[in-house]
Symmetry: C2
Subunit: 262 residues, 2 copies
């Protein structure tokens, strides 16, 4: 079993532990929440969270609840983004979207419940709980700021290349929170957390620029976007050398991102 598979198993087991039992009253809510979080995804954000704990000298287990929290937060944003009033998406990951399967009202409410539950789950971190909660709160608000500004851009209220604010918040905020919460749960120093933030901000931006390339939806010419992915990845990798623990997996994740492009 690779290290990444071991961490993935921790993520899946923790999500299964903290989500409402399937069929728990009210059934529509519990079922929609479990469906939304699903399984079989890459779980990149929670794995970054667990690996960040290891990178500061903690264990992956130290960060299991913050990791589950950030994945629930991420999935709530997807459930709400897919709604008819937003992207009006019918399918995601080859399955019906939550609103298409459970109805719009239940999708709105299942997203809401995932967000509240994420905060409850993060409270189970073994240390630095207040800082972890503050980090989750900033990410929860930031990701909405990014989404609102993205809608304004799509509606033509902002120029198409005004993506700095959108990418920093809509995408990178969750990566930054994942890494910072993992580092805090693992007992990292302030300097460690700062390095993890730099790593994750740049990883998140590289991830988003690359996603645009793969979707053929880039705000810049292809060469410029490819250069941005490489540049952000280099900055992310450079931040890891300062960390006292085992940053092997974080390095692999950053390198695999650049690899996706070619």
């Amino acid at each position: 079993m690779t290290e990444r598979t071991r961490l993935l198993n921790i993520v899946e087991a923790t999500l299964d532990e903290v989500l409402p039992r399937s069929g728990e009253r009210p059934k529509a809510l519990s079922d929609a929440m479990r469906y939304a979080v699903g399984s079989g995804g890459k779980r990149i954000r929670p794995i970054v969270c667990l690996a960040s704990s290891m990178a500061v000298g903690g264990s992956a287990d130290d960060a299991r609840y913050p990791a589950a929290a950030i994945e629930m937060l991420h999935n709530y944003t997807l459930v709400h983004d897919d709604l008819p009033a937003m992207d009006n998406d019918i399918e995601r990951r080859g399955k019906l979207t939550v609103w298409k399967k459970f109805g719009e009202a239940n999708a709105i409410l299942a997203g809401d419940a995932l967000l509240s539950l994420a905060f409850s789950v993060a409270l189970n971190a073994p240390r630095n709980v207040a800082a972890i909660m503050a980090t989750l709160g900033v990410a929860g608000f930031g990701v909405v700021q990014g989404q609102v500004e993205d809608l304004e851009r799509e509606n033509g209220a902002l120029p198409a290349d005004a993506v700095d604010f959108v990418y920093a918040h809509k995408t990178a905020d969750l990566f930054v929170a994942a890494a910072a919460m993992g580092g805090l749960a693992g007992g990292g120093s302030e300097r460690d957390i700062e390095a993890l933030r730099t790593f994750a901000l740049n990883l998140g931006l590289a991830f988003q620029f690359e996603d645009d390339l793969l979707d053929g939806d880039s705000p810049f010419p292809r060469e410029k976007t490819e250069a941005l992915v490489r540049q952000k990845t280099d900055v992310a990798l450079a931040a890891l050398v300062r960390l006292p623990g085992d940053a092997t997996l974080l390095r692999e994740i950053a390198n695999s991102l650049v690899g996706r492009m070619s």
Copy 2:
């Protein structure tokens, strides 16, 4: 200035302090959040929160951030309840609902942002922060459970008088959280918090039964509902005698509820 006015001023000042500045980027979000929380309401939940701190011997100021948080949580539920996919309401408190004024997408997102920000705001409590955050998380999830079950009842999937679960969660959870967080912020003992929970659960149920009467929308005959309001209010008042601080305002609030009926 009455004591209740003094507490109301603390609530309004704290909400104004913690909400994004009007026009802050992205403008649609900040404006929609401020509009949603509004002003001029009775603010009964945050006032219960402040008064609960005083009832355990703390100050009203001790509970100002939990009080603002519970009001933001309450207002986010209203914003989402008003959406076309839910109650499809055009007006609330004599003004256009958030979705009608800012659009559906912005209303969904403004509600989401209020929920995340509520957790960030509650973190500023002066003591017992972990217990306060746990209480807020339970309320945030519970209120959604109540709402989903209420929708199932309206759709005929549950009998009309199956209101115990709905009222306990949809309405009472926020009152219980308001009182418990206030007591925790004021430094109350475990016994104090338990008494406050009993008070608030019964106050919340009385409040909901009475609202049904005022709306002509009661699941029971009028006499039965009136008797329930009196009975719940009596239990609420009885719980207050155990508290070590000044419970005058909590007593006034409970008594004024029964007064609304006649």
